[in-house]
Amino acid sequence: MVSASSVEIRKVNKHYGTFHALKDIDLVIPPGKVTCLIGPSGSGKSTLLRCVNFLEEYDSGEVLIDGTMIGYEAPGKKMPGRKLREMRRSIGMVFQQFNLWPHMTARENVAEGLIRVRGLSKSEAHRRAADALAKVGLADKMANHPSRLSGGQQQRVAIARAIAMEPRLMLFDEPTSALDPELVGEVLNVMKTLASEGMTMVVVTHEMGFAAHVADQVVFMEKGELVGVDSPDRILHHPEDARIQSFLRTYHERNSF
């Protein structure tokens, strides 16, 4: 396993027009650990996650990957595209909507980055793509296009596409929210395997069970503010902040029958 990255977020702010989406966020994501971001919708957790690979541009503050700021060379001065792409190569991302490329087979989806970004030969890329797909349990689906895969399978291909690039950091943006309930487990299992291998993972999720069992730290956000950072047990079972208590109460009410 390659080394794992750390992320440091310092005083990050983000506005959409007059809407203050992220307010002075400070957060340290230790290497090799799993950090889960939870909170109500619109709390800014996905926005924060997307700032980590600069798909979302933050207005002020710093996001440091292994000590190097991403997106800007200095405050207000964007980094050249080439440097940004270089940093993104070691950051994998998995999206809520999978975002597989529908005109390519599962294997081609995984090989694409290896060929275009890593410069591997087609045969070598396809060999590694096969390995990555085997790792997520899809060795027999390599030749399928996304339209012939279930949601859970598509998301596992998306995970394979990210890990084939040998990232040091993985970002998951609500990876199971678009899945039918019976397909959530297979994706979470793959993520658990990755976590056990010591990959740095940042996961925006509504799966409190995953956060409770797999996360090393849980971050609770609300209205663009970081309300609490602590162990899963302290956040999920013994929350002190009234906002977290209220969120969990709603969550439990909705999930009991």
């Binding site: 690979n53 798909l55 595209g81 792409r85 270089e86 993104r88 190569r89 950051i91 994998g92 991302m93 999206f95 909507q97 975002n99 597989l100 490329w101 529908p102 005109h103 694409e112 980055g113 275009r116 970004v117 296009h145 339209s147 012939r148 998306a158 596409r161 990210a162 690039m165």
Partner: protein, 220 residues
């Protein structure tokens, strides 16, 4: 009706049909190419370039093809642009079609889910790779029905080229009509040829669409 006249005018009509197909094909291919360049420039170019293109699109779309041809063919020499009828006709068709094609491509690109572009950015692909590997293949697929549709419209615009004496089908039909007064026969031949051409294009379009969307459609 008297069809014996076709013995005399048949070869001329056939060659006119050939010229029509040639004009349509080249005009469509060049118009599409120019439209694609315009659409990509609009998407990735600077803001001033975008404005220039927008003005071009408005002017060409806002004026009749006939007027554009006259300006090009009869007005061109005044500014040193001296073209024969056929090249002038091809250039005219290209220019006339390009803004429509550009708009078709533009909306085709917009139909590509942004997340699929982001996924490519997230693994560090260059914008050039993204255009070539993701945006173009997917954007072209969603543009295809509109592209075929506008290509069919263009077949019928070719008749206007007869006015600047391009020897295409309409030109031959008019020659036959005025020389023999067989207006009905001549124009029936014209209609038949166009009907065959349009049928062929729309069938080819359907075949192509079925072929390239085979893997894109969710099957249940």
């Amino acid at each position: 009706m008297d069809w014996s006249i076709l013995q005399q005018y048949g070869p001329g009509l056939l060659s006119g049909f050939g010229t029509t197909i040639l004009c349509w094909l080249l005009g469509t291919v060049f118009g599409m190419a120019l439209g694609l360049v315009l659409a990509l420039a609009q998407r990735y170019g600077a803001r001033w370039l975008n404005r220039v293109i927008q003005v071009y699109v408005e002017i060409i779309r806002g004026t009749p093809f006939l007027v554009q041809l006259f300006v090009l063919y009869y007005g061109g020499p005044l500014v040193g642009l001296r073209l024969d009828a056929l090249p002038a006709g091809l250039l005219g068709l290209t220019v006339y079609g390009s803004p429509y094609f550009a708009e078709i491509f533009r909306s085709g690109f917009r139909a590509v889910p942004h997340g699929q572009i982001e996924a490519a950015r997230a693994i560090g692909m260059t914008e050039a790779s993204i255009v070539r590997r993701i945006l173009l293949p997917l954007g072209l697929v969603s543009s295809l029905p509109a592209l075929v549709n506008f290509s069919i419209i263009l077949t019928k615009e070719t008749v206007i080229l007869s006015i600047i004496t391009v020897p295409e089908l309409m030109y031959q039909v008019q020659r036959m009509s005025t020389e023999t007064f067989r207006y009905l026969e001549a124009n029936l031949v014209l209609a038949l040829f166009f009907w065959a051409l349009v049928e062929a294009i729309s069938n080819a379009g359907r075949w192509l669409e079925a072929r390239i969307t085979k893997h894109l459609v969710e099957r249940t």
